[in-house]
Symmetry: C2
Subunit: 342 residues, 2 copies
DNA sequence: CCGGTAACAGACAACGATTACAGTCGTTCG
DNA sequence: CGAACGACTGTAATCGTTGTCTGTTACCGG
């Protein structure tokens, strides 16, 4: 690769002039410089640039799992906002591991001007790790231990779970099960609490054996569903708290040949790509995805712009609304005639 | 952030010694240095490191669309191989645009030691852009104009399309339609040719109005499917050449209330996440995804290791096999009794 | 006790860009 | 006509790290 010195030599000027030309300043020999740049196929070395200027013009996005369509959609939203901005987006995956996340954050600090992070776990302390570097961070979906240190964009998990519970109650269900996520995540806790509390408030007690917990993945949902569907008396409705778990749940339902919603109603948190095309189509709590990413990116850009002025703005926390999408996978209670109906 | 000079000062040694300590060499004052590093929370500046050493210890992965589960799976395969290696993986999306891809490649060149690229189009000339920088590149899935310049990992597209055609022929179909991808991509051309040639060889002529072409996305598949299902006589079987197009096709089938496989058989290239859970479950040509990514990464690592010795190895081209997954969405021809059956 | 040799130390020059500083012109105005 | 000014220019320092080069030890055998 050719360097700025090569260009300067060929154009017969100093490197300073070339640098000035590149940054858009008026330069006498700009024609010769342009010609030299083209002839040498000169591209400024981004590493050298970053070292000197202290800014990398790139931002890092860290997600637990790239293959999860939900995260993919969030990333999409982020990218859309950056499309013709000066920043380049780098994506890294942490495989849902706190250790990997630590490595990735260390790697990214100093390589990026800002970070959008979907934490893998809450034990992992982004604050302790990230604080000294002073680079702006926006948390998405899950929150870290000290919420107040960073901007964040989350959804109303408890509210969404409440919507699901209310929907099932309205259909007359009373033997209701939940496939919850890890309780050491805010998301897992909030959805679990929102759901169970709503049932309790309505006087419906959940059988402890119908309160399943698993990892936020297909296998977790599958195993939990097998246990639930095998229990006696079996639940008449199951709420799955994560898209991947819902896939596992559906797989189990399918394998066991359980009729939906005839024998068991199914409702998930998060829509699926093909949710509307399933038989029956999936009833779910749906939430903004791309919009969530876009919002996070805008928050980050605001931080990046303000960074030089000394007054640190207080952390912003945005809670986005979720909605209930009623399709065909939920229906009235099967055996005993429904008690009430709307 | 503290620098190596701060550490050296605190430990009472030279920066060279600190550098040596960090690179694992034996150093007399290693205890004092370690102490100083911890106290100052010292992290080597990756930018400065890269500038000096000429290597970034990171590799770039460029995909057309992050939200496509197929690409996500490829990336997953890539990451798994890198898990505990020295390289960090950065992912960038090009939104299927040649222009964006150009920008991304420029951005990445000099920021990464190697590249894994799934080209957005073939017109875009990665070779012209990437050649001068001399960094190793591995192409995945689609190939660029001059195949021989880079290592590549692809699948047997023509073979997969042939499998699909043969399957439909065996079921007795004769009015067969294809929803093809852009013919300016190798993938689009190969799948189209493999399918049509197989039909022709079997003496089955395809109605020109049953030869649809669209973008590799949901909308393209949807629109094409609407046209096909509205044509008279309508095809008794439809082959969709891409996973997103298949989703569009299924959506159209669903909306129009066309029975599958009763009225029309559906077969897709690439499986879907929920393919097995659909009603009927999707028959498709499935191919390795994570394995493809893993293989590409291994190829790249090999290149990165050899880079210093002067003899440039010839480009490797790996073609991976695909397989037919027969599920329920394909069946015998509806109205006229099937001519032959196995 | 001395010369030779490991084994380590520090000083300093890179890497490729940006930028403060100090010229050097040509032009304009009093 | 000379001074002041504007519009540029080049020189050189700098960013944080690594690697080369040249010491400086300590320890060994003779």
């Amino acid at each position: 690769m050719s360097t700025i010195a090569d260009v300067a030599r060929l154009a017969g000027v100093s490197t300073a002039s070339v640098s000035r030309y590149l940054s858009g300043q008026r330069v006498r020999e700009h024609e010769a410089i342009e010609k030299a740049c083209i002839e040498l196929r000169y591209r400024p070395n981004p590493t050298a640039r970053s070292l000197r200027s202290g800014r990398t013009r790139s931002i890092g996005v860290v997600v637990p799992d790239i293959t999860n369509p939900y995260y993919a959609a969030v990333v999409k939203g982020i990218q859309d906002v950056t499309l013709d901005g000066p920043y380049h987006v780098f994506l890294s995956g942490t495989e849902e591991s706190a250790e990997r996340q630590h490595d990735v954050l260390v790697e990214l600090t100093g390589r990026a001007d800002g970070l959008i992070l979907i934490p893998a776990t809450e034990q992992s302390e982004p604050s302790r790790e990230l604080r000294p570097s002073r680079i702006p961070v926006v948390l998405v979906d899950r929150e870290a231990e000290d919420v107040h240190a960073f901007d964040s964009v989350v959804v109303d998990n408890a509210g969404g779970a409440r919507l699901a519970a209310e929907h099932l109650l309205e259909l007359g269900h009373e033997r209701i099960a939940i496939i919850g996520g890890p309780l050491n995540t805010t998301v897992g806790r909030e959805r679990h609490a929102g759901f169970v509390d709503t049932l309790t408030a309505a006087g419906v007690e959940m059988d402890p054996s119908h309160d399943e917990e698993g990892g936020f993945n297909v296998e977790g949902g599958y195993q939990a569903a097998l246990r639930l569907l095998g229990s006696r008396p079996a639940p008449t409705a199951i709420f799955s708290t994560n898209n991947l778990m819902t896939i596992g749940l559906l797989r189990a339902v399918n394998e066991l040949g359980v009729r939906t919603p005839g024998e068991v109603s199914v409702i998930g948190f998060d829509d699926l790509d093909l949710g509307a095309l399933l038989t029956p189509p999936l009833t779910c709590v749906s939430r903004p995805t791309e919009a969530q990413g876009a919002l996070a990116m805008r928050l980050l850009l605001r931080r990046l712009e303000e960074s030089d002025d000394a007054a640190p703005r207080k952390a912003t926390r945005i809670v986005m609304d979720v909605a209930l999408t009623v399709r065909g996978s939920t229906g009235p209670v099967p055996t005993p005639a429904p008690k009430r109906r709307r």
